[in-house]
Symmetry: C3
Subunit: 140 residues, 3 copies
């Protein structure tokens, strides 16, 4: 049984959705040693998210931002948690809707994902700063 | 390799979102023995959910209830599954949108979460009763 | 420590939500050998999803389709990613909202789920074709 874990800080990302697959793979090269296992990325924040989606066309990430802003808008009259800015409460809801972690099968030393799958960070704050992730890989 | 598992029943919670991090940690103290690993809480129901979000200001949990009720309302004219009460079908959709499990890295015997992250139960029924969870921790 | 993994192709499903619990269990019978562990199903696509919900009344799955189509509609004026058909961009958003994987505790050789819980595939395309899944089970 192998178990690897590492904490990393991402660069600052603008509000929106961004591909981070390569950053994560470079940060945990020991993943290559695992024949069958799982990889997890976990974000230690409640106003950003991790999800898996289309890794080729940047307009998909733009449409994520447009539509998820519409589903979970700013300035709803019933929001009580408003003292951290209009973007804060929607950011919390987006984080729980999309999730704060991805868990992916490892096969023969690689993430066993589809051709079009990449890992996104959803940065839901206007100025979120650097985000901290815990990467864990385990298996045989 | 260590593997611990336990099934627990939560106290009854009102409809809404509630912090349960401490209840879970007290139920599975063996988590302290794991240096690198993962912890999972899984809820055995389809009208409640588990998610991770802000653990300090109770108005965040109130705003979750307000806005998610608006995204997934009761009494939509196209709902066919209505014989268990108006709160039932929205509860099912909320459960799948938020998810029925959280999977969290363990580092040096502790959940490796951010300062502001706590585990929420989302109770989506008006009278959901006691909910059963399966807690699993594993690692080296 | 035991670790089993298998890649499978599902039959073609119509757009909507479908129970696949039995297909998955039959594909990975080694799950029966695990006393304490976890099972994961991971879908290698970005326009379909996996989630856990009510396994008895088919109207729940119909209401999922009706309401999630309303939350994430086709032909929004701000969608830029439209060259793969009107159903494609909503399918991507649905996939991230519901998730591309389920991770379930194993207890005494069985999935430790509630009586009413089943595993759904959400097929979000009109003609999605056969979908590929990676099944992983591990434990002691």
């Amino acid at each position: 049984m192998q178990f690897y874990q590492k904490e990393i800080q991402l660069p600052v990302f603008n509000r929106g959705y961004h591909l981070i697959t390569n950053i994560l793979l470079e940060a945990l090269p020991e993943l290559n040693k695992i024949k069958i296992g799982q990889f997890q990325a976990f974000i230690k924040h409640t106003s950003a998210s991790l999800t898996i989606n289309e890794n080729a066309d940047p307009t998909v990430r733009m449409d994520f931002e447009s539509h998820i802003n519409k589903m979970i808008p700013e300035n709803m009259p019933y929001y009580k948690h408003d003292y951290e800015g209009a973007d804060d409460m929607p950011a919390h809801i987006k984080s729980s809707m999309l999730g704060c972690q991805v868990q992916i099968p490892i096969t023969q030393g690689k993430l066993n994902v589809g051709t079009w799958q990449g890992i996104y960070i959803g940065e839901h704050r206007n100025y979120g700063g650097r985000r901290t992730l815990v990467l864990t890989a385990f298996g045989i």
